[in-house]
């Protein structure tokens, strides 16, 4: 068994292999993970919108030992990851980290948020630091405005324009 604690280091090995095959291979995998995540999230997000998203990430915050602040208001959900356990483990690793490890997160979350007609702004800030800011808006124009403030804005496969 690869312990669940070490999943991200296994994930990192998968990403390195797929990156060598080409960008479309990596994106196909992110979409597969996104589909897998739909089982836990899609109905919740559809039914409860931002509140459902808050519930999901609050559960993740606890279960994945994230140092993360969550803020919900009528317009948006904001996740401020102060110390990301996923990238932290990949960096604390005897195997080489994939340089774009952070990209997978928007890669699976983005398609899911598109599906529930909300708008994701994913600022990784710096791929070498285990921190990021994620904002999910109800209103598309507000998301587009917010994108201007991002330091390192992430995209995802088939991003809605």
């Amino acid at each position: 068994m690869i312990p669940s604690d070490h999943f991200t280091r296994f994930y990192n090995e998968v990403f390195k292999f797929l990156e060598d095959q080409g960008e479309e291979h990596l994106e196909a995998y992110w979409l597969e993970i996104s589909k897998n995540q739909e089982k836990h999230t899609l109905e919740l997000f559809k039914e409860k919108g931002l509140k459902g998203m808050y519930e999901y990430w609050d559960h993740i915050r606890i279960e994945e030992n994230c140092d993360m602040d969550l803020k919900l208001d009528d317009e948006k959900l904001e996740l401020r990851m102060n110390v990301c356990p996923s990238l932290s483990k990949v960096l604390d690793n005897d195997a080489e980290p994939m340089k774009r490890y952070c990209d997978h997160c928007a890669g699976w979350i983005g398609p899911l948020i598109d599906k529930v007609d909300h708008h994701l702004v994913y600022d990784v800030i710096d791929r070498n630091k285990p921190q990021c800011v994620v904002k999910i808006f109800k209103d598309k124009e507000k998301a587009i405005e917010e994108e201007k403030n991002a330091k390192l804005l992430m995209g995802w496969p088939k991003k809605k324009k």
Partner: protein, 154 residues
């Protein structure tokens, strides 16, 4: 066998909560990679996990300190609340997993566990033992049960 070696610190010594759903993502990944690239590719990735991610345990095995692998088993099977036991004697260390909670969790999550789910154990173990004086044999005893034995090569 030096049982004091069990007091040594693990390279990856995780604490806190356990996110068992990651096993579901492992199952999805195994299916995805095998469907698109074939089983040899999946096995190569597990080999990299054994050789590179677990380099520290492998280095211990090379030096004859196989107790670090036992310690790794103990730490993570405890964290995942598995039903298992480890027997240590002068010749070998045997891990018997009576109820693998990773396997059971995936079965609960998605219903059908990949037939290659346990390859993560078999192939990672093979890589850990490769180029060391030891072999690791992984026997699947049934659904969610296995025996893993590390002993000196004949």
């Amino acid at each position: 066998m030096n049982k004091n070696n069990l007091d040594q610190k693990l390279r990856y010594n995780d604490g806190g909560n356990v996110h068992m759903d990651f096993h579901g993502a492992t199952n999805t990944t195994i299916k995805f990679i095998i469907d698109k690239y074939g089983i040899d590719t999946m096995n190569d990735i597990f080999k990299k996990v054994g050789n590179n991610v677990y380099k520290n345990i492998k280095d211990h095995i090379k030096k004859g300190n196989i107790e670090m692998l036992a310690k790794h088993w103990q730490h993570f099977f405890d964290r995942e609340n598995a039903d298992y036991n480890i027997s240590i004697n002068d010749e070998e260390i045997i891990l018997t997993v009576n109820r693998c909670t990773a396997y059971e969790h995936v079965r609960k999550l998605v219903g059908n566990v990949s037939p290659n789910f346990c390859d993560q154990t078999i192939k990672t173990n093979e890589a850990l033992a490769e180029d060391t004086p030891y072999e690791i044999k992984t026997e699947i005893l049934g659904e969610a049960a296995c025996r893993q034995t590390i002993r000196k090569r004949a």
